[in-house]
Symmetry: none
Subunit: 199 residues, 4 copies
């Protein structure tokens, strides 16, 4: 279904979508080696353009990163917005749905999340980074019950950590990826359910 007839990406095809290609390659490298350790030279070499070309499309190195975040965090923002529109107190069903959708988002944006987890120190003082923590707290707001005891609050966080961490460490464990994702989701939902019902 591809438009190209030859192998690889022809110069023709490349025209007009360089911006996108920069983002793709950058994310790939950032995730692989970390933000600091990835240089613009590396990115431009892999794209077979000059460093200066990157500056035509983005004002700074940080702007490349930020733009990637912007594209990919939109679904999360929508999820948060949706959650916050739901009637209070938040129903168990809504919480479960939130986790389910979050799990899907996580899979779709896996490289970005991997990057975020592994580069917190760097990302922390990017404006974008700030908002990541906020987003996590945004999801947490949907799940938590302010009246519940501390252990149940922890359970809600735990559900989130389980999903974040699980995505990347379970690679080292045998088993079918989709099955693993489901198991992770199940544990997360279980945690939140128990926090909700106070079981």
């Amino acid at each position: 279904m591809g438009t190209g007839t030859g192998t690889g990406t022809s110069k023709q095809q490349r025209r007009g979508n360089t911006r996108q290609r920069i983002q793709d390659v950058a994310l790939e490298l950032f995730a692989e080696q970390g933000y600091e350790k990835t240089s613009l030279r590396e990115i431009s070499e892999r794209l077979e353009v000059t460093k200066a070309a990157l500056y035509y499309h983005f004002k700074t190195k940080e702007a490349i990163l930020t733009s990637i975040f912007d594209d990919l965090t939109r679904p999360i923002d929508e999820l948060i917005a949706w959650g916050h529109e739901q009637p209070r107190p938040v129903s168990l069903e809504t919480k479960q749905k939130t986790l389910t959708r979050y799990s899907e988002i996580l899979v779709d944006a896996a490289p970005l999340f991997r990057f975020m987890q592994e580069n917190q120190a760097t990302v922390r003082d990017l404006k974008t980074g700030e908002s990541f923590k906020d987003r996590m707290l945004g999801i947490y707001e949907i799940l938590k019950d302010p009246e519940a005891p501390m252990t149940d609050q922890v359970r809600c966080f735990s559900a989130l950590f389980t999903m974040h961490g699980g995505m990347f460490v379970l690679k080292d464990v045998e088993g079918d990826p989709e099955e693993k994702r489901k198991a992770i989701l199940e544990v997360a939902i279980d945690l939140v359910t128990r926090a909700h019902t106070g079981a």
Copy 2:
């Protein structure tokens, strides 16, 4: 009966413990700003010595980091060793004890763990980093039951993530630190217990 009456550390006092001081300052800065973003210039300036002095005590920048790890990961290695000596199948009690001790270790070496969590991308390709993952899997080995269903395997990982993540994110939540630590530990133990009993 200390010799110094004034404030600050006199040059006298400093003699002989420079190595230790380098490690302290380095960890502080690494945790604050990340490994890559911390330069040897910064470390040496804060210590009021020259960069070259750092090189008298450590062969490379990485060696500074490694030496800090070596000192602080010993307790974990001991815990793993102890766990692996316990009779198989591992009793629930042993698992609980493991988590409890791990929790204490985590608190003691908090800055190091914060650093590790936030600099995974960097730490990954340090030999030392390698071994961190191994250590986590080492603890996991004690907790897990290879026969148990996938969800229970996930619960064991979840317990670990909860402890790691909890330590640092709960800062942003109100409440007494010690109480929070206990709540985290409780949730972790609960997860492992349920995995163990298959409840």
Copy 3:
């Protein structure tokens, strides 16, 4: 009709030939002070560009040196190629011609050869250095007669050493340069002739 009427090189003129200028200045300094003792700072200062500019044109310090060699050793390679195409056994005439041409090459690339002679220790473990020895042996291959007694073999080497050494030490002896070069060439040819005829 040059654009500059004043002394020195205008910035206009310099554009586009920086690479060449780096090579010129570098060779000059390398020959004057040795490779190790010449720093990139020195080169860049003399060129009135920044050190980073050097790195735009050459990947490393060694690459500067290598590039100079590449340009200047081509004539030698051509001479060797020519020599090896000649019918065997090599005629005396061919040998004499080889020395004559070699002598001219030596004069043209005098600073480079001076540099090589005086920096053998450094140049030795550069790939480029390797090939210098090979080149010398390449010329030697044309001159030598494998059946001849050891003394005659030595005479052939001696002819080469005489030319190499002569170029630089005879500076300290009175007399017209061109005349001296001719005398050197004559002695070299004489050595090879005697080796050839077994006189």
Copy 4:
């Protein structure tokens, strides 16, 4: 006849001859890698002493080199002195004897001469270096005949170059070392003889 009974050099043995050992190791390394590229750290590590110890025995790095030269160039100075005492005009016999003795000196101090040849650029601006050139000219003074034509002057230099160069390049040629040395000496003597007789 050695005093030690064990293998290797015991600490006992080492006492009192550290100065000598420094010179030995230094020359070895200087010859191997060049003067600039050999650091005092390297020397001290190979000797299993501290860098500071070197400074107990020698005022500077250059002083180590100079001291080595002083020890080893004495024979040459004696040869020159002897040569200059001979009646003028210098007889052919004296010239031949000079070359013969020079050849022996060269073999004895081979590493030093190898070093000198390969590090001329470095050695040039050491006071010691100056004197090396002077020494070579000193030998040349004995061999040359100021009235002789330029080609014969060149022959005398050529004899010297042949000996210097020959020592090190003939390594790459098959044959017995002693036999090669003799062949080299023979060629050198032949050159000087022809210069002397004007053949």
